[in-house]
Amino acid sequence: MGKAQSMVNKPAAGPIARATPSPAVGRHVELTVGGMTCAHCPPMIEKALTEIDGVISAHVNLANKRAAVEYDPGRVAAIDLVKAIRAAGYAPGAATIRIPIKSMHCSSCVTRIELALQMTPGVLSARANLGPNAVDVEYDPSTVDFDAMRRAIESAGHKVAEPKAADVKAAVEEDGDPEQIAREEEYRTLMRKFWFATAISIPVMALSYPDLIPGLRDWMPMGSDTRRIVWALLGVLSLPVLLWAGSQFFTGMWDALKHRSANMHTLIAIGITAAFLYSVVAVAYPGLFPDPALAEVFWDVTDVVVALVVLGLALEIKAKGRTSEAIKKLIGLQAKTARVVRDGKEIDLPVEEVVVGDIVVVRPGEKIPVDGEVTEGESAVDESLITGESMPVEKHVGDEVIGSAINKTGSFRFKATKVGKDTALATIIRMVKDAQGSKAPIQRVVDMVSGYFVPTVMILAILAFIAWYLVGPEPRIVYSTIVLVTTLIIACPCALGLATPTSLTVGIGKGAENGILIRSGDALQTSQQLDSIILDKTGTITRGEPALTDVVVARGHNDNEVLRLAASLERGSEHPLGEAIVQGAEDRALSLADTENFAAIPGHGVSGRVDGHEILLGNAKLMRDRAIAIDMLTQDWERLASEGKTPMFVAADGKAAGLVAVADTVKPDSKGAIEMLRRLGIEVVMLTGDNERTAQAIAREVGVERVLAEVLPDDKAHEVQKLQLEGKTVGMVGDGINDAPALAQADVGFAIGTGTDVAIEASDVTLIKGSLTGVVTAIEISRATMRNVRQNLVGAFGYNTLGIPVAMGVLYPFLGLLLSPLIAAAAMAFSSVTVVTNANRLRFFEPRRVAS
């Protein structure tokens, strides 16, 4: 708790290191700058930076989003540069770390440590705090590492506190979600109030209608003093119900009134107060009524309404807590500790203290604490909780690992590349939270209504009171009061207000559980009404990298032998097609030989000597140039080429030996996903820069009818626009890098994400697992969620538009029907619970599995 609080952004108040003597040469710093999207951004930032007194030069690179600044540390501090970038409207990138300090007791120590750190190149700001005995450092991870920071702290005469085993353990066990605790507490208080109000309600109800109960009728006949005294006592009993059990209505009303707004509390508070005051008057001054016998009391209204509405609030809190279960699961995934190598020792640290560049050790069965790159060892890693992909992924040296994935088999070491708020998981959590907080367009209607709703209900209640008083039946005052109270109580602004956000929270959370990040309510609402979906071929439908598909042999040769020769020859080559052949041979467990005299013939192929044979691998022209007869293979060549593959001739010792074909292969579940999309009634279009023949071959294989081939990368957005001009709502699926303009142009852009790079800017939906099935699931989730929202809205609007007029008594002239305030209270209390419960039904949504 305390930690989170003091971590919250306070404006940097620490002293800035201006007093250092000015060295002859300027200091150089490189800062990452976020938010640069246009060509004119860098000059603006450069201008802002060079205007600072003490900056010698500044150069901003748009491509790698970095600002290189030469400055005089004697006249300007790094943090001022950061501020200038921020003031210019961009986001300077910096990481933060909290370093615990041993025995930091005085405020002068604080200043010393801050100064020492601020003088370290790469440290942007440092704020030491006596409370937690730690210093929060903002730093540029590419310039400074933990060691440098520690040296700075030591130079100030302090020591970095060794994390005690107990501290680490405490960090692990510190699991209290303050929000959860507050909710539990409120639930318990409300339930106590409910039981109290209920306990009072029962005798009050019985004694309020003595005429209906034979024994009581005789004991306290109408108009008797006994009856008045009993009723007065009931009033005394009801007072604590009004003032204690109903207290939140009054405080809620008061807080809202101060802001000139009104809410559910206002309506309930006025309603129960009106009923209560009427009863007080009836008991105290029965003479005011035309016939004293009519001076009945409504204590039961106050008590029962409070009991029911309080119960409704309690149930709503319980149900609302469940709507954010998905995000809680994600937060729970975060590792609490990391085993880091520092000074050659492996030490356990709370995960907040890991810095970029640390070497982290992971043993089998452990959680990977942060994002990074494997430096030693190998293992299989289960990333299913993040990507939704159930198969463990093999990780070797150089591979990327995602924080919070679970290490399965081996132990390995990796270098931390992203920590704290920058890790993939933290980004996912932030994005999901933002999306859950965003609004679907459908909610704008509700927003318009909600500002006017409560005052309108109050006006309606007053008008109903007037109408009943002017022309209603006798006793008019009794009827008017009942109608006023019922109208105020039956109106339920909560059901309206809860309808969209609760469903959205559950729906977007459900997406995250399935490895689909829906970025906003807008994207969620648009996804359900897609008419067409454009799929980029390479990397979306296909794997995006070539693989060996066919081996055809001339008479007298054998499959494996031809492949082995071709692969052995290509082993030295770095060409992607060559790598595909080598990989194909390795998959068949062929042992490859060494190549002598390897030569690449640009535009034709390669040649070399394998096992004493002269081997040629290449196109038809290469064969013709070397006068090799290939007639018997040309038919197969044609066939393979028409299938969109790249066939290559293999010749051994001047004779054609066969063909090896390589192609970008279709992902196993693409066909099934496209089939599902079509079954959802969505037109599927394939878009590719490849030639018509290859495109058609792939299209046939996966069952796409409309193909846009030979589209230049720059024209992709244009193709999307053309489809939109046909009046269609268009979704685009691409990799998010080359396709960014097309993704942005589409009504909904789906980016196929890979690894730790989940924050793909141009996309509305990010599919963490690189499979098309995610598109189907995203659309299904969107449809299910929006259906749920509509149910809620219809329910809430319908409830209010029906309930309020009935409460006002419009049915009375025709049917003689008038609603009791008690029924109104029950209806109101359970309408909002119903909305939240309906939203919670979405939690049981299961995506249909696509057969691969």
Partner: protein, 125 residues
């Protein structure tokens, strides 16, 4: 009509007029965000039954940091949503939560709780 009916009618209509004026016609003047040394335009907003202040005036093109502090437990206000900026923030009770925005164009931008019961405005000049 009897006198008591006249009294109820007139009192009722006056009450209606008061409700219209009180909730809809009177608007609060805004509070200008302070410029800080960090390059932000900052303002502190108390969340209790509504936003205090509920109208914040800022300049265009400079980052804005709004520090929310929620001092109630009602579940409605546990989040604040800036619809036009696509941003939202959880507001745990009793904690200071900073929301940073970049107003790129002038105009009036509402911020609300997810249910739209609490309303505030960010006026960009």
């Amino acid at each position: 009509m009897t006198p008591d009916r006249w009294i109820v009618l007139i009192a009722g209509l006056l009450l209606v007029a008061f409700i219209v004026w009180f909730f809809w016609l009177k608007r609060a003047k805004g509070v200008r965000a302070a410029e800080t040394s960090g390059g932000y335009q900052e303002a502190m907003i108390l969340v209790k039954g509504g936003y205090t202040p509920d109208t914040i005036i800022v300049g265009r093109g400079k980052p804005v940091r709004l520090n929310f502090r929620r001092e109630e437990t009602a579940s409605c206000s546990d989040k604040v949503v800036f619809e036009h900026f696509g941003k939202s923030a959880d507001l745990p009770t009793g904690e200071l939560v900073a929301v940073e925005l970049m107003p790129k164009e002038a105009g009036e931008f509402p911020f609300t709780c997810p249910m739209g019961m609490f309303r505030g405005r960010l006026i960009v000049e």
